[in-house]
């Protein structure tokens, strides 16, 4: 989790971790892959237009809200939304549900489009890890990833409003890199380990194929 340098960690820190953890455990973990991921996989593997339409209905209004939050007008925001959603369709092959929930993948596309549009710049991105299209997605890994994402969501919702807002600002690109000075609170450790496992498996699978 991010916190701006101007604020003291001790004051902004969420309440003690104990009760928070307990509350997290009460949540019944879902045993089914979310509709968003199911749609996204149908788009990726089946070029399914109905699934894309469902993704559009879910994400396009949120994307518009996300983009307008940083001061973009409605018309321009919709242009960017369209561009993002078309990229979702075209680059679907790069989506890997064992490494990202759908919203994380779309978030990154949206930030890239915003940077392209407003900074007239192109953000350098890491090399893509090529996913072998024939590999059967592992449902348990997808589920585990989604559970980590919902834990993260829960953790964010339990923060003090001021702190939550700061994190939102940071991930919306409203804070400079100097303002994003330290990390505290939001538990990214477990999701990181989960993703690390997915990456290692990917690397292993790719080696086997060679």
């Amino acid at each position: 989790m991010l916190i701006a340098s101007t604020h003291t960690n001790t004051i902004e820190r969420p309440p003690a971790m104990g009760p928070q953890k307990d509350r997290l455990q009460v949540t019944q973990p879902s045993t089914e892959v979310s509709p968003q991921t199911t749609w996204m996989l149908a788009v990726r593997d089946g070029r399914d237009r109905a699934a894309f339409a469902a993704l559009f209905d879910h994400f396009a209004p949120r994307l518009k809200g996300f983009i307008m939050r940083s001061g973009t007008g409605s018309a321009q925001a919709e242009e960017i939304v369209q561009d993002v959603m078309l990229t979702v369709w075209r680059k679907a092959g790069q989506f890997d549900p064992t490494r990202a929930q759908v919203s994380a993948w779309i978030y990154q596309i949206a930030r890239n489009k915003q940077i392209d549009t407003f900074r007239k710049d192109h953000r350098p991105m890491p090399e893509e890890l090529t996913r072998e299209p024939d590999l059967e997605p592992d449902a348990s890994q997808i589920l585990a990833m989604e559970q980590e994402a919902s834990r993260l969501k829960k953790a964010l919702s339990m923060l003090k409003p001021k702190q939550r807002e700061m994190i939102e600002q940071a991930y919306m690109g409203e804070l400079s890199h100097q303002e994003i000075s330290t990390q505290t609170g939001l538990p990214l450790g477990t999701i990181k380990s989960r993703i690390r496992l997915g990456l290692e498996k990917l690397r292993h699978d790719l080696k086997e194929l060679r």
């Binding site: 991010l2 339409a53 559009f56 209905d57 994400f59 396009a60 209004p61 949120r62 809200g65 996300f66 307008m68 409605s74 919709e78 939304v81 369209q82 959603m85 078309l86 369709w89 075209r90 490494r99 990202a100 929930q101 919203s103 994380a104 993948w105 779309i106 978030y107 990154q108 890239n112 915003q114 953000r123 350098p124 991105m125 890491p126 090399e127 893509e128 890890l129 994402a149 993260l152 969501k153 964010l156 919702s157 940071a170 991930y171 919306m172 690109g173 804070l175 400079s176 890199h177 994003i180 990390q183 990214l188 999701i191 990181k192 380990s193 993703i195 690390r196 990456l199 290692e200 690397r203």
Partner: protein, 211 residues
Amino acid sequence: MTAINHHIPDALLAAYAAGSLPQPFALVVAAHISMCLDCRAAFDAHQAAGGVVLDNVGAEVLTDRLKSDTLALLDAPVKEKPSFARSGVYPGPIMEALKGKPPRWKSLGMGVRQSILQANDEGSVRLLYIPPNQAVPDHSHGGLELTLVLQGSFSDSGGSFGVGDLEVADQEVEHTPTAGAGAPCICIAATDAPLRFSTLIPRLLQPLFRI
């Protein structure tokens, strides 16, 4: 591949994932992630947090035609941007900055060479080539400096850096990096301010070398 010991500090990685990092630093971070599974996982984790923020944001009503217009464009032909793969010691993002061509080296003296990839108000990013055991001409800089080793190694007061290692230095760090024995050291270095010299003559030379 030897293990990477010096990684991207998490705040910097968060800023990169959020798209808040100036271009020169973003290039070095993208190159490091291309070489480092740990930092790739951490980067993905920050994207997951960004995804949660996107999930939570208030939805806005769309104009009527946006959906049908978008669906109608699904099969429209698009000009694909070329993608750049790793070539030799240069990861994809650096090859992209080089536009797919080998670096054009310029001599800085004493066998040290540089190839400037970008220099503007945001800062500068360059490739450096340092012969074995050679020290880089003494320099200090205004702000943050990121250096990523692509080949060989170097060491300075901050430690020893091998392939894939990233050194983060701020203005407090006075460093005279010296290349290790063996292969020449090739690294990529980004700064957010032009390097500063205190005397007049180097300042006159500064535009010449653009360092």
